[in-house]
């Protein structure tokens, strides 16, 4: 029994409009391959990175500031060159992408949980609760998300004792970026909930006495998830950029566990001495990742938009 359900689910995906639209869009295929490559090399960085940038024994100061392998003074061991401490740039990028992606995904999930719950409550309960939640959303929306993330980050840093900073900043970042992004989800989910709650299946569920929490979770939620996935994809790109920006500004991930943004910040100091590769390669990795995710989001939005079919 279990097996049959699984099988038909895969068959259903292969037969869906989304899958058809995916196989016809070269942009979507290429950008999802790129995204998967980045995710793969980030997740398996400890196994596939050519050298371990955090193993102090393996780092040799004699290897410091080597240009990329194809330049005259390059070293084939370090394809993209090394930084001032002799760490291979390619490896630091792989490890950095790990942190960037972790913060990106975690804050998107955090935003989703907060935004979807508030949106469901706002739409389903209505009345004063709805008014209050939506007013807060309006106020927050009139400020750029990056400013809110910066501010939350700053305040949270003030609340955490200094000696704990390096251990918790990553969670502080997830919190700050997550809170700065919930409004989009809440608004969309509220809109869809308002539509769904008057439909017959919800009324039927209410009549047979199912509790509101269960109705929202089991019946309304699955029907409002479509647009949420689009927002989440585009939001992932924004979250990654925000993390990189905060880390670049020096209020994000500490240099001991550098993310892509931190790497760019470190490299920026060597720009004027001509060691461009320390900044440019992490920067390029960031742009490629964000561009791929953005393109994927663009495609998903068009694919789910019934007007464009």
């Amino acid at each position: 029994m279990e097996n049959i359900v699984e099988k038909s689910r895969i068959a259903r995906i292969l037969d869906s409009d989304i899958w058809h639209s995916f196989t016809r869009s070269p942009v979507a295929i290429i950008s999802s391959i790129v995204t998967l490559i980045v995710i793969f090399s980030a997740v398996f960085a400890p196994f596939i990175a050519p050298n371990d940038p955090f193993d102090l024994v393996a780092i040799d100061i004699m290897d410091s500031s080597l240009p990329p392998a194809w330049e005259v003074e390059g070293d084939p061991r370090f394809l993209l060159g090394t930084d001032d401490q002799g760490r291979g740039i390619l490896s630091t990028i792989m490890y950095g992408a790990r942190i960037s992606l972790f913060v990106g995904f975690a804050s998107v999930i955090f935003s989703m949980i907060v935004g979807i719950s508030l949106g469901l409550i706002s739409g389903y309960v209505g009345g004063r609760t709805d008014a209050i939640i939506m007013r807060i959303a309006d106020i927050q929306l009139s400020f750029p998300a990056i400013l809110i993330a910066l501010l939350l980050d700053g305040v949270a840093r003030g609340l955490v004792p200094k000696e704990m900073h390096n251990d918790v900043t990553i969670y502080v970042l997830v919190f700050a970026i997550g809170i700065s992004g919930w409004v989009q989800y809440a608004r969309t989910v509220r809109g869809s909930t308002l539509v769904e709650k008057n439909k017959e299946y919800v009324q039927a569920a209410r009549i047979i006495g199912i509790r509101p929490g269960t109705i929202l979770r089991r019946h309304v939620l699955p029907n409002v998830m479509g647009p949420v996935m689009v927002i989440a994809t585009i939001h992932l790109a924004i979250a990654i950029i925000t993390e990189a920006t905060l880390s670049f500004l020096g209020v994000g991930v500490p240099p001991t566990t550098p993310s892509l943004g931190t790497l760019i910040r470190i490299g920026n100091e060597y720009l004027f001495s001509g060691e461009w590769w320390i900044t440019i390669f992490p920067g390029a990795a960031l742009v490629i990742l964000v561009l791929a995710v953005n393109l994927l989001g663009d495609w998903l939005r068009d694919a789910l938009n019934p007007k464009l079919r």
Binding site: I146, I241, I264, W276, V290
Partner: protein
Amino acid sequence: MVSFLFKRLMQSVIVMFTVALIAFSMFRFVGDPINNMVGQDTSEQERIELRERLGLNDPFLVQFGRFSLNAIQGDFGVSYKYRVPVSGMIAERMPATLELAFVAAILSLVVGIPLGVYTALKRNSFLSKMIMTTSLIGVSLPTFLTGIMLILFFGVVLRWLPTFGRGDVIELGSWSTGFLTASGLKSLILPSITLALFQLTLIMRLVRAEMLEVLRTDFVKFAKARGLPNRLVNFKHALKNTLVPVITITGLQLGSLIAFAIITESVFQWPGMGLLFIQAIADVDIPIMAAYLVLIAFFFVMINMIVDILYYAVDPRLRADNE
């Protein structure tokens, strides 16, 4: 109209009130203000006296009232790190940020609108497609990377333009301007392009989308059928009708220019408010953060209000609905 204005004003007051409350809570509850103000060797007795003198033992509402009254008069207390009044520090750095944001706003409008119109009219030309692809990369390029690449190219490789600071400034009363010296203007080029680029792509894509929408409508088709010259149809009929959303977004973007200036200023070491703010975050210098927050919120609220009123002035339908 009057009731609309009143409602709008009330909304702004509520927003400012909320922001002030947040700023005050930050000031009061993030860390101990006394600890941040005095040195290590201050005795317990002196601390208690200082606490009493600053009124930190008063009820919350009394303290908040005092904070708001002071804030309205521009007094945000003394920076924890530099031991000078915050208002002075901000006033000193405000011209730098405002000049940068102003130039960037003009740049993004002057370049963004024509590009948007062009890509909408010549939708299938090679140049349009190239512009659109470039703009997508522009959206994915974080502001600080744009800055770094410009520095690398124009500052390090070509050595044409200065890459940090404001150059020479001239004091006009309390306003220091970089518009009047050659080095001041040269220093403005890279930061303002960096700051403008993102807004520019946004405005361009918006104008293009709106133009395409309007060009499909019947009245434009009819105007063409009447034999009006293309130029007249495109600019008098079509472009005019795209302006409402463009004004809204541009207005809102003006606010975010000031916010994004934080990043640009930190890449180019531009001595503006944003750089001050980011240093304050790193140092947990709460009075500066609170003052910056309230000031930025004030800018935003003002801009939003002006945009709403402009909306009202530009779109006659809104007036008809309300009267």
